[in-house]
């Protein structure tokens, strides 16, 4: 797999096919049993701790659960990476944080605590925090899950805008076909730990591969079977008691 620089790449696939694991590989939180992951020419699995942490400063990640620090306000959450990694004066930190919050439309909500935010707002704060240090690469883990249509629209728009405005590379992991295709420049489709299809969103919609079709059209049965593996139904029904 190759993630093109400066583009939004969507990695799609059914739940449990290894999408989030892939992000964990890219961020160096997990090490692959075999193979290599290169970010900006650096081989992530073989980096030592110091270099890995240096690389992570150039990465932003938005978790599915947002992972905001619950004891800090919205402002302090966005300021957290800035304060941890720079010795900038408070005045400058404030300006930086306010500019990021302005991008996601939450400058006015800076005094709120994470528990007071709606699901969509939480994601937007997490997005502002992910881009706080102007990273070269931002990874989004299921950014569209569990959002109402308005919040969903906002997040879709923001991911695209932020990518283009800050000239960075975005990787969006999602099982949401419509949203994934609507913002991606390039799509990878994973199934059972393998790439089963790739191309532009248009190419993916036009493909005839049955694995890809089943996912893109949301068909309940196909190469990914509807039934969990089981013995024959009739045999199971007429089996003598007691059951296994």
């Amino acid at each position: 797999m190759t993630i093109p620089r400066g583009k939004v790449t969507a990695i799609m696939g059914p739940s449990g096919c290894g999408k989030s694991t892939l992000l964990n590989f890219m961020g160096g939180r997990l090490k692959p049993d075999s193979g290599d992951i290169r970010v900006n020419e650096a081989s992530v699995p073989s980096l030592n701790r110091r270099d890995l942490y240096a690389l992570r400063r150039q990465m932003g990640m938005m978790f599915q659960s947002s992972a905001l620090l619950t004891d800090l306000s919205v402002f302090e959450n966005v300021a957290f990476p800035i304060r941890e990694h720079t010795a900038l004066p408070d005045e400058l930190v404030r300006n930086l944080v306010l500019s990021k919050l302005q991008m996601v439309g939450l400058r006015g909500a800076r005094h709120l605590m994470p528990a007071e935010l709606s699901g969509g707002m939480t994601r937007r704060v997490a997005l502002a925090r992910a881009i706080a240090l102007d990273p070269m690469l931002v990874m989004y883990d299921e950014p569209f899950t569990g959002l109402d249509p308005i919040s969903l629209g906002v997040i879709v728009k923001l991911i695209r805008e932020v990518n283009d405005a800050l000239n960075m590379t975005s990787v969006v992991v999602t099982h949401d076909v419509a949203e994934g295709c609507s913002i991606a420049d390039y799509v990878y489709l994973l199934g059972a730990g393998k790439v089963i299809g790739e191309g532009s969103p248009e190419q993916m919609s036009g493909t005839t591969l049955p694995e890809v079709r089943q996912f893109m059209d949301g068909l309940p049965d196909g190469p990914v079977a509807y039934h969990y593996p089981a013995r024959d139904y009739k045999e199971d029904l007429f089996k003598e008691w007691p059951d296994d």
């Binding site: 961020g27 942490y53 990465m59 932003g60 978790f63 992972a67 905001l68 620090l69 957290f80 941890e84």
Partner: protein, 259 residues
């Protein structure tokens, strides 16, 4: 056969956990040195684990002192030795009850809170989030909490002992009519700074180290689900309490075997 297998599994599991806890302790101690320059973080945690535990320590210390005064008087008066009440109260508190009860209360109040907080941070991917922001959670979250517990427990134990002595005075002198001067003089003559007070302080330092280590590790090692966090919290209180009582026996036999 099954029981042998279960025993084997339990031993392997325990040794593995002990290994993880030791590695964790080492990284935390390194983190403690790195975090020393960030004083506000430590102050914040000393407030959370120390200052917020003061109330329960003060109230418990007062009652324990009052009970000691009452029981001590009732026993001593039979031998006409009620003039030694001050000494009995002070020695019981400085040597044993101060450090031990404080550590037990600390494990229940602050230890469980530490485990639950860290466990929930893990369950809500806050620790993973920090890692991805290139912030080491061991240094940023565990080290200040560990250091704070280590600082707070000896101070709380001192507070417990002092309030306990006052509680004993309240009952012994105020209620049962022991002479005030005798209460304090017996204490002044009988309590040794090194043998009694310092040994008590050493105990509370050891307890502070162990209880906070267990609490922070259990949180860090918790299974990131609601059930996992609840189990980890329970384990903190149980293991820390047993560790305190066991260590107290060992320390007492090392310190006071000649007395």
């Amino acid at each position: 056969m099954t029981s042998i297998r279960l025993l084997g599994r339990w031993v392997i599991y325990s040794v593995q956990r002990l290994g993880r806890a030791t590695v964790f302790l080492m990284s935390t101690l390194v983190g403690v040195f790195l975090i020393l320059r960030r004083f506000p973080l430590i102050v914040q945690q000393v407030f959370a684990v120390g200052v917020l535990t003061v109330l329960i320590i003060v109230v418990s210390g007062l009652f324990v002192g009052m009970v000691l005064g009452l029981q001590g008087y009732n026993t001593l008066v039979d031998f006409g030795a009620e003039s030694s009440l001050g000494l009995v109260v002070a020695l019981s508190l400085t040597r044993e009850l101060g450090p031990v009860l404080t550590a037990l209360l600390f494990a229940g109040r602050a230890g469980s809170a530490l485990t639950a907080e860290i466990g929930l941070m893990k369950a809500t991917s806050q620790l993973a989030g920090m890692e991805m922001m290139a912030v080491d959670p061991i240094e940023r979250v565990m080290a200040p909490r560990f250091l704070a517990g280590f600082i707070a427990l000896p101070l709380l134990a001192a507070m417990f002992t002092a309030i306990g002595v006052l509680g004993g005075y309240l009952i012994g002198v105020g209620l049962l009519g022991v002479d005030s001067g005798v209460y304090w003089t017996s204490m002044q003559e009988g309590v040794d700074v090194y043998d009694d007070i310092m040994n008590g302080v050493i105990k509370s330092v050891v307890f502070g180290f162990v209880v906070t280590w267990i609490a922070v590790f259990e949180g860090y090692d918790a299974v990131p689900t609601s059930e996992g966090v609840s189990r980890a919290t329970t384990r903190t209180v149980v293991i820390a309490s047993l560790a305190v009582l066991g260590l107290d026996f060992i320390l007492t036999s090392l310190m006071f075997n000649e007395v």
